[in-house]
């Protein structure tokens, strides 16, 4: 059993500096969970608390069902892959990978065997006698992962392991990490600020902001039903479009400053008419309006970006401060700067957020 549960975790550096507030959720055995959020949101700190590198000011952490608060880092059954790999520069790859076992006093034969197996899995057997400075970034990364695998931990911890790699390598490693998880089946906690990594790798995502958990759920859950503005804006690229306005009376719809009326498929029972609301709709859900579309706005194209498989059109709507972004298939329509278009807002795809940023529940 290698679940990890957080019970009311908080961390303070001093009376007024609180980095983590009231974190409470459980990671199941074998899950790949990603902690995601902007820099300084506390995700790395929480990871380090699981590792035993940071004190826990309040609350409890249980690893594998046992209370882990006061257990030494090396006794918790965890292994960590650092952002900068943290390979010992004066040791060979083999020695790096075997170091923890040597510290634990395991017999040499066992160390050899386990190191060899891990090296096979990661295809670095030919590098075993080299020193870290003779390795490329990607190779060092594998060694760092290999060092973690050798320890056969109950939980793997990854602290932004891919951020030091260049883009194409990052993509390859992402795929490899997914395969690794499938092969080993161990619980993995992965910290990143990159939402693409979060979406692709995670069984479940935990979104952090300002030391507080914003939402926990599967990638698609978070994508389709974000709990608040922050989660909605954080996942998905290009970012979700947001329009400010007031809640219409009597229906689930937003009244924009120019008196336009856009309905949404949301349950606004708890809301009050006339209060501030935000409408959110993802770029891929906006489309050029047909005659039959009632929920639509007049807009002028200010920029068109061609990415080959898709096209991004930036639209200026009168009375709306920020340009909207519309994503269309690559060769769908010919649009250029200055075109006047009508943009449809399909109510099924519109989300409503109240004045505090929390989402109104979606109606399917």
């Amino acid at each position: 059993m290698a679940s990890v549960s957080f019970k009311n975790i908080s961390k303070k550096y001093s009376e007024d500096v609180s980095v983590i507030k009231g974190v409470d959720f459980t990671i199941e055995d074998g899950e790949f969970v990603v902690f995601v959020g902007p820099s300084g949101c506390g995700k790395s700190t929480l990871l380090r608390m699981v590792a035993g590198l940071e004190d826990i000011t309040g609350g409890e952490i249980h690893i594998g069902g046992e209370l882990a608060n006061d257990v030494h880092a090396s006794q918790r059954g965890i292994a960590m892959v650092f952002q900068s790999y943290a390979l010992y520069p004066h040791m060979s790859v083999r020695q790096n990978m075997g170091f923890a076992l040597k510290m634990a006093g395991r017999p040499k034969a066992e160390i050899e065997e386990r190191v060899g197996k891990a090296a096979d899995i990661l295809q670095i057997s030919h590098l075993l006698d080299r020193k870290p400075k003779a390795l490329s970034g990607g190779q060092r990364q594998r060694v760092a992962i290999g060092r973690a695998i050798v320890r056969q931990p109950k939980v793997f911890l990854f602290d932004e392991p891919l951020s030091n790699l260049d883009a194409s390598l990052r993509q390859n490693m992402r795929v490899e990490l997914s395969k690794l998880h499938r092969e080993l089946g161990t619980t993995m906690i992965y910290v990143t600020h990159d939402q693409v990594e979060a979406m692709t790798l995670a069984d479940r995502i935990v979104v952090f902001n300002g030391g507080v958990v914003q939402q926990v759920g599967s990638p698609l859950e978070l994508y389709d039903r974000p709990a608040n503005l922050f989660v909605a804006g954080f996942l998905g690229a290009p970012k979700m479009n947001f329009l400010q306005g007031k809640l219409a009376s009597g229906s689930a719809a937003i009244t924009l400053p120019g008196d336009e009326h856009l309905p949404a498929a949301a349950d606004v029972a708890r809301g009050t008419a006339g209060r501030d609301v935000t409408l959110g709709i993802r770029p891929e859900h906006l489309r050029l309006a047909e005659e039959s579309d009632a929920a639509a706005l007049q807009a002028r194209v200010t920029l068109v970006e061609h990415l080959g498989d898709q096209m991004l059109a930036y639209l200026k709507v009168a009375g709306i401060a920020e340009d909207l972004c519309m994503k269309l298939p690559g060769h769908a329509v010919k649009l250029s700067y200055g075109d006047q278009v009508r943009v449809a807002f399909p109510p099924q795809q519109c989300l409503l957020f109240d004045h505090a940023g929390d989402a109104f529940p979606r109606i399917q």
Binding site: A51, S74, Q83
Partner: protein, 284 residues
């Protein structure tokens, strides 16, 4: 700028550079040359008369006139042991200051800086009396002993070295120690197994630095010792300089021999040394 002007400028700069090197080294070369000349030549300023053979026996004469082997041995022992202990204590203290935040760390840092502004020599009499009192009251003689001088040297040279080592430690990423802790090391284990091997160049540089400082020390070697069984080279030279009188050739031989050990230490470690001083320097 044309390529030819560039090449000519470069050649000019090279010439200037090497001329500067020669100019800078001239006094040292002069010292060695004068030590190998007949004393009458030296007295007359005729060292450059290359028709005369090199007078290697000046060294033998100097060695015999002055009890040089004794002084040399004392200097070697005292400076080496002082270097060893000063390096150890400086390394430990520097690691504590570099890695830990704890009550009193800033006071210690300030204290270290202050000891640099107020050298031991300023209040030498209390020190002398302290040594004398320890010898008389506690029965452990400190004056005129190896350990007395060694303890003083270690105490004098540790503070400056702490700064140098601290610079090295700060430049080592903390994650390495974190990884070691996760791998099962105690903090001390992480320090010994991971941090120390990585900072070996810095440690060597610091040790060389301390050795140079110790070898250079004249004042306390002079005031705290009285018998030739403990006195170091600088004391020896100073004691016998009157005896040399006009024998500048012997004096230069003594000077050369005094310089050789530190020169050797420097050349052996100069790679680490240069890197070390430069690294610490940019941070001020």
């Amino acid at each position: 700028m044309s390529k030819k002007t560039n090449a000519r400028n470069a050649a000019l700069l090279n010439l200037l550079t090497w001329a500067l090197v020669v100019l800078t080294l001239l006094p040292i070369l002069w010292m060695v040359l004068s030590s190998l000349r007949n004393y009458s030549d030296v007295a007359n300023g005729n060292q450059l008369d290359f028709s005369e053979p090199l007078q290697w026996q000046n060294y033998r004469d100097m060695w015999i006139n002055v009890d040089f082997f004794n002084f040399f041995k004392n200097s070697l022992i005292i400076c080496s042991i002082s270097t060893l202990f000063a390096t150890i204590s400086a390394t430990c203290a520097a690691y504590a200051l570099a890695r830990f935040r704890f009550r009193g760390s800033s006071s210690v840092s300030v204290g270290i800086s202050v000891t640099q502004v107020i050298p031991g020599m300023l209040f030498f009499l209390p020190l002398y009396m302290l040594y004398r009192n320890i010898g008389e009251s506690w029965g452990m003689p400190m004056l005129d002993t190896y350990h007395g001088l060694i303890f003083l040297y270690v105490a004098l040279f540790t503070p400056a070295s702490i700064w140098i080592m601290r610079g090295f430690f700060v430049s080592i990423p903390r994650e390495l120690e974190d990884a070691a802790v996760i791998d099962g090391c105690s903090r001390f284990g992480a320090f010994v197994r991971i941090v120390l091997p990585i900072s070996a160049p810095g440690i060597i540089a610091t040790a060389t630095f301390i050795f140079l400082l110790a070898w250079d020390e004249l004042f306390f070697a002079w005031t705290l010792t009285s018998s030739s069984s403990v006195q170091t080279i600088p004391v020896g030279i100073r004691l016998f300089i009157g005896q040399f009188q006009q024998r500048y050739d012997l004096m230069m031989a003594a000077a050369t021999v005094s310089t050789v050990p530190v020169l050797a230490a420097f050349f052996a470690c100069q790679r680490f040394f240069v890197k070390g001083l430069s690294a610490g320097a940019v941070k001020g």
